[in-house]
């Protein structure tokens, strides 16, 4: 906020200038406060979602790690963490490999029906989740995939592919096709060209697409509620049933840990973005 106002600014404009920044500050507060407020609440010593007088007076007795302890020792939560990672990792692998190959095909100049194909491939992102979830519930029950890990992995992979297609296609927009021709003319065959030339260049797009696919699965609640059962419970599944049935601050502890995870993800995506821009020579 160091920008100096020009000397000819009228007092009214000066007031407006600062008022505007205060308003924006309040909006940023609205964005961030609800996320930050759960951090201290998760250290609550009593099983409520509220600040106790002890907490407000910074009395150490008002704080405890019992909800974190509960999270790390409770078998329900441990199963949920395991399932979340298993399901997210496998669905990300499927989504990333299929999505990257499809994006390569879609960005070729010759591809027919491009708009229509693109619309179909990103439809899992457009269709309301509740409709996808109900459809998958009926269909997967019929072919005995409902309530299996495989079913949930396939469902999450389908939901994750649009993100991979979009990010990889975006990377390929700036991709110089003459590089492929150059590699070919120098004697590299298709496979060598792909792994030595194409992959390193689109890798940031692939990785950020994979991160999107991972977070989509990791964060997904609606489809897992319908396609999964207790055996496939993920962290969001467990949180949802926790909020519905017995609210305990363990949920806040989990939420705090998830915020940490998202900060990590955000940082890695930002670093990837910068790398892409550097490689493409875009000025930041």
């Amino acid at each position: 906020m160091k920008s100096k106002l020009p000397p000819y600014t009228t007092p009214l404009e000066r007031i407006w200038h600062y008022l505007f920044r205060i308003i924006c500050g309040l909006i940023f507060l609205f964005l961030i406060f609800p996320i930050l407020v759960i951090v201290p609440l998760s250290f609550n010593a009593v099983p409520f979602f509220t600040f106790t007088p002890e907490m407000l007076s910074f009395n150490p007795e008002g704080y405890s790690l019992r909800w974190y302890e509960d999270f790390f020792t409770n078998l329900n939560w441990r199963g949920a963490v395991n399932n979340s990672f298993i399901i997210a990792i496998f669905s990300t692998l499927i989504a990333t490999s299929l999505g990257t190959v499809a994006a390569l095909g879609l960005s070729r100049r010759e591809v027919p029906y491009r708009t229509m194909l693109m619309a179909i491939l990103i439809s899992p992102m457009i269709v309301p989740l509740i409709i996808s979830a109900c459809g998958m519930f009926f269909f997967y029950s019929r072919i005995n995939l409902q309530g299996t890990h495989l079913g949930v992995i396939l469902a999450h992979a389908a939901l994750g592919t649009p993100f991979v297609v979009i990010t990889v296609t975006a990377t390929l927009v700036g991709f110089d096709r003459s590089l492929i021709r150059a590699a070919n003319s120098l004697g590299a065959d298709g496979v060598t060209t792909f792994f030595k030339i194409v992959v390193p260049l689109i890798l940031p797009g692939v990785i950020s697409g994979a991160l999107f696919a991972f977070i989509t699965s990791f964060d997904e609640v609606v489809v897992i509620l319908f396609v999964g059962s207790f055996e496939q419970r993920t962290i969001p599944w467990q949180m949802f049933s926790g909020i519905r049935e017995h609210i305990s601050p363990t949920i806040l502890a989990v939420a705090t840990l998830l915020v940490l995870v998202s900060v990590l993800l955000l940082t890695s995506i930002e670093l990837l973005r910068r790398r892409t821009e550097r490689l493409r020579g875009v000025r930041t």
């Binding site: 940023f28 979602f49 969001p236 939420a255």
Partner: protein, 423 residues
């Protein structure tokens, strides 16, 4: 383009004498096939795991096989019966009914017909349960009086009319139900009873609350996007993190934190009581109602408004405003006459995006919406997993999907799906 070394002095053929045009189109076709082959695996995968399941579910909204499957002979006989004649069907129809009930007796199949018809005419469920118990004991005819003795409803025109009306395999009945109309036993359309007219109101509420949420995100998002676009890049990148952090935080985490904030014993009520704004007894009910849904969803969807607005505003040269001011415009009128019109694509993109996401929302309304803040999605889920009226769920789903697709086409027109950016 293989083998197509062309020299100006040669006729237009390739090295092996194939006309150039043929060779080119062949090469082009090969390239097309190659690109399609790359897209194919994902296409097939999505088809099997996503598109077919959705089509399968939506089909339930128009298919209605129950009556004709479990009462085949009765339906056949009823074809000759004139529902408007004012007379009951003849003996042969009753005989067919008895045969159908007997055929389905071991697995109590006939009760499924009762369950289905009960959506259309209350009382059918118990009628078919009773008939399922008593009719199989009949040995020989005439059946007409015996059947009417089981329940006098078998002697009422209405019962037969409803069976006849719902005997076709395809039905629009679920759609009528989804917009608060019903088909009378005689086959006419009429409004549902006052009490059961809920879906039009629900659609209206979903659209109204989604619109309100979109407006709120616009009001809150516009100034922030403007600030981000006008600040030096280093500062704005830092502030952008504050927008992206909520964007990347789990949806359930954000919903949970709003529960902690808004509930009766929650943070906001505590603060207001501590500041003596409200009395301890009059804590505000800000959650499990429409307010809760609007506040939480505005927060959750705000980044989806800020990001497209920001990316549009970034491209507007700062010199536009300076030029307008230097030509004598008041800064405010320069803003509204010069700057704001340039941001309309961003408003359109963000607005439609938020609106599309909002009308399909399920989790947040389910957790903080109570009864007055629930959306159409919540009723679809209810009919799928609680009331088991899958046809109605599918019909509601088709209407919702239709709305979303129209908005999506609009979005594609304004922004172009290819230009969609993430994060």
């Amino acid at each position: 383009m293989a083998n197509s070394a062309v020299h100006p002095d040669q006729p237009l053929t390739t090295a092996d004498g194939v006309p150039l045009k043929t060779a080119l189109s062949r090469a082009l076709r090969r390239d097309k096939m190659k690109s399609l082959a790359l897209v194919a695996p994902l296409f097939i995968f999505l088809g099997l795991t996503f598109l077919v399941p959705i089509g399968d579910m939506l089909w339930r909204g128009v298919e209605d096989p129950i009556v004709s499957t479990y009462l085949p002979k009765t339906v056949e006989q009823l074809k000759q019966w004139d529902a408007t004649s004012g007379e009951l069907p003849d003996e042969s129809t009753y005989e067919a009914l008895v045969e159908d009930v007997k055929a389905g007796a071991p697995e109590k199949l006939i009760t499924r017909v009762g369950k289905r018809l009960n959506y259309e005419l209350p009382g059918m469920n118990s009628l078919f349960r009773k008939s399922q118990r008593r009719i199989p004991k009949f040995d020989e005819g005439p059946y007409k009086e015996a059947v009417i003795k089981v329940d006098k409803k078998w002697g009422q025109l209405e019962t037969w009319q409803v069976i006849k009306t719902f005997s076709p395999n395809l039905t629009a009945g679920y759609f009528w139900a989804a917009i608060d109309l019903q088909v009378t036993p005689a086959g006419d359309l009429q409004l549902q009873d006052e009490k059961s007219r809920i879906y039009l109101k629900l659609f209206w509420r979903t659209l109204y609350l989604s619109g309100l949420i979109t407006l709120m995100t616009l009001i809150l998002g516009y100034p922030v996007a403007y600030l981000l676009a006008t600040l030096p890049l280093k500062t704005s990148n830092l502030l952008l993190m504050l927008v992206l952090l909520p964007f990347w935080t789990s949806l359930l985490v954000r919903t949970t934190s709003w529960i902690a904030m808004l509930q009766r014993e929650g943070v906001l009520n505590d603060i207001m009581v501590a500041l003596n704004i409200i009395e301890n007894e009059n804590r505000l009910a800000m959650i499990h109602n429409a307010t809760g849904t609007v506040v939480a969803m505005t927060h959750i969807l705000l980044p989806f408004m800020i990001l497209p607005l920001y990316s549009v505003m970034k491209t507007i040269p700062k010199s536009y405003m300076r030029a307008a001011v230097s030509l004598g415009a008041h800064p405010f009128s320069a803003f509204f006459k010069v700057y704001a019109p340039n941001t309309i694509p961003g408003i359109g993109a963000g607005g439609i995006l938020v609106f599309i996401l909002a009308i399909g929302y399920y989790i947040t309304p389910a957790l903080v919406g109570g009864t007055s803040g629930t959306f159409i999605s919540n009723f679809i889920a209810y009919h799928v997993s609680v009331s088991l009226n899958w046809g109605l769920a599918a019909a509601l789903g088709i209407i919702l999907l239709g709305l979303v697709l129209v908005l999506y086409l609009l979005y594609d027109r304004i922004v172009g799906v290819d230009n969609m950016k993430l994060g």
